[in-house]
């Protein structure tokens, strides 16, 4: 239709789409799915890291971790707000999550087993997230693009903090601390690579999303970029990436790396990851246990409004 053509022309011209603008229903739906999935990931992502707040081994690290998890809650909040501009409420989106119908990043279905996992999540998981998200700062939908700018700024800070934590363990630490870091890398490396999604050959929706500029680069491009960036960082830490096929390919100007076990990926996606049930249960429980608090807040606001009205 003419409307659709005009819409695509605006996008092609690099003009942002704003909530009040006309947009194709599929664009709206795709964005709601993508933004809310991202919001859910921030919220569920508080859990694996939150698991170590009480056991952080120094007060400075405890404060850094607390601040990081706080930022994640904050990111969740902006992202839900961005999604709300598309005509859906936060409560609806959260219901979808709790009902198990909405997705969140599968990476949060892995457990945080040692303190080194906290550094590794910052380094690899935030690193991969930023790699995915930086292009989205230029995406076509205004509120999403603006949320991404803010999120990316904070996440690159988190990534540096995570890497700094690992420097303490690997370069300044004891043999046990370094072993802890290597073990964490062994467990998180492949899941981090999977964060970029299935390889382009398998990926659905990609072409349309790229045309709409809500996806800028392909999964495989981003994954390659991530590997290229991360390998020298691992070397600096003195850690070995758990991939025997990893090597520099001078011809391509990139690192070659081994085949990803997509069976594992789909399995975790299906709910069989080590922590899928626990993560969802923790979020549902927080929601259910908090019902009376939310009810009280509403009841009090109503009483107060009624009193104000009466006084007026």
């Amino acid at each position: 239709s003419a409307q659709e053509r005009a819409f695509q022309e605006r996008i092609d011209a690099g003009i942002k789409i704003e909530p009040k603008d006309w947009m194709p229903e599929a664009y709206r739906k795709t964005l709601i799915r993508q933004i809310s999935q991202h919001a859910h990931s921030e919220i569920v992502g508080m859990l694996p890291e939150g698991n170590w707040i009480s056991r952080a081994p120094s007060l400075k690290r405890k404060a850094i971790l607390l601040a990081k998890v706080q930022d994640e809650a904050g990111h969740g909040l902006y992202l839900y707000s961005a999604a709300e501009t598309l005509g859906v409420s936060r409560d609806q989106l959260v219901d979808e999550l709790h009902a198990g119908r909405a997705k969140y990043s599968s990476i949060f279905n892995y457990p945080t087993l040692t303190w080194a996992d906290i550094g590794t999540i910052g380094w690899l998981v935030d690193g991969a997230a930023i790699m995915n998200q930086i292009p989205l700062c230029r995406c076509s939908f205004g509120p999403y693009s603006r949320a991404m700018i803010r999120v990316c700024k904070e996440e690159s800070f988190h990534q540096r903090q995570g890497y700094d934590l690992l420097i303490s363990l690997c370069r300044d630490g004891t043999a046990e601390q370094k072993a802890m870091a290597q073990d964490a890398l062994n467990r998180w490396w492949w899941p981090a690579l999977m964060m970029f999604g299935p390889s382009d050959a398998e990926s659905v929706h990609s072409a349309q999303s790229q045309a709409w500029r809500i996806k800028i680069f392909s999964n495989d491009e981003l994954r390659q970029r991530f590997v290229d960036q991360t390998v020298p960082q691992a070397e600096y830490l003195g850690l070995t990436i758990p991939d025997p096929d990893l090597k520099w390919n001078a011809e391509r100007g990139h690192y070659d790396f081994g085949a990803i076990d997509w069976d594992e990926f789909y399995n975790v996606l299906k709910g069989n990851g080590p922590c899928n049930r626990e993560r969802l249960r923790a979020r549902r429980q927080a929601w259910e246990d908090g019902a009376w608090v939310r009810d009280a807040a509403i009841a009090h606001a109503e009483k107060r409004a009624a009193r104000t009205a009466q006084a007026a």
Binding site: M46, L59, L66, Q70, E176, V293, A297, H300
Partner: protein, 251 residues
């Protein structure tokens, strides 16, 4: 002299740290997402304050104990926090009533300490007071909201108040440490905070339609002297597990 001051600083630091630790247990599990942010904020402030008090205590002590040695390598009987802050989180009303009872005292205390003759204490108090002003505002609001919310929230808030009241007595009980430092103009006489505290508590309870238990109820004590409830041991076992398992390591 310095010894009393170190002890006093540990009391300040320990109460801030243990409450910060308790509050941070909520993160990721709050009833409203905005509260995940707010609770983290309060916890962060308190842990930041603990670091400042410990830093100064460690310097005065001069035995090379830094903030982490003080936080992670002392046992329960060496901790000097008030009993109130080590009480379990319970439900959201228990947590917010605990916070409110503490904040109202903490605020009055820091106001006093910002006039301390010890400039370092005064400086830390001034910084902390800004944060705690917000804490008190927030916890007061929540107590009012819960007390004057639904029947259920009222019941829970009242139960929390009745339960925690017994731990408020020691906030105002001076011992030799307090007396020595009050005489030097370094510390605030705890007894002098009581009126302001009671005033705040009564005003908020009234707005919240809650009934404050009698001011002369039986009070527990001992935290400031290192005699705690059974809860503190568990808090420390978890909090200290990593540094204890790796003696001498740096993080």
């Amino acid at each position: 002299m310095s010894e009393a001051k170190i002890e006093y600083l540990l009391r300040l630091g320990d109460s801030a740290l243990i409450l910060g630790q308790r509050v941070s247990e909520w993160i990721g599990h709050a009833p409203i997402m905005e509260e995940d942010v707010a609770l983290a904020n309060v916890a962060l402030d308190l842990i930041g304050q603990a670091r400042l008090w410990f830093g100064y205590a460690g310097e005065l002590e001069g035995r090379g104990r830094d903030e982490d040695a003080l936080a992670f390598l002392r046992e329960a009987h060496e901790y000097r926090n008030v009993l109130l802050v080590e009480q379990p989180n319970g439900n959201f009303a228990d947590t917010l009533v605990r916070q409110f009872l503490f904040d109202a005292w903490h605020h009055a205390l820091l106001e006093g300490l910002s006039q301390s003759h010890d400039p370092r204490i005064a400086e830390i108090a001034v910084k902390a007071l800004k944060e705690v002003t917000y804490h008190l505002e927030r916890s007061s609001d929540w107590v009012v909201r819960l007390g004057d919310g639904t029947e259920e929230s009222h019941r829970k808030a009242q139960a929390a108040l009745d339960e925690l009241w017994t731990y408020t007595g020691e906030l105002f009980a001076a011992d030799a440490i307090d007396a020595e430092l009050v005489a030097q103009g370094v510390a605030v006489d705890p007894a002098s905070l009581r009126e302001a505290w009671l005033h705040t508590v009564q005003a908020v309870c009234e707005a919240a339609t809650l009934t404050a238990p009698p001011a002369d109820a039986w009070m527990q004590s001992g935290g400031k002297q290192g005699r705690h409830t059974e809860h503190l041991g568990y808090i420390l076992a978890e909090m200290q597990s990593l540094p204890r398992a790796h003696p001498g390591a740096r993080w």
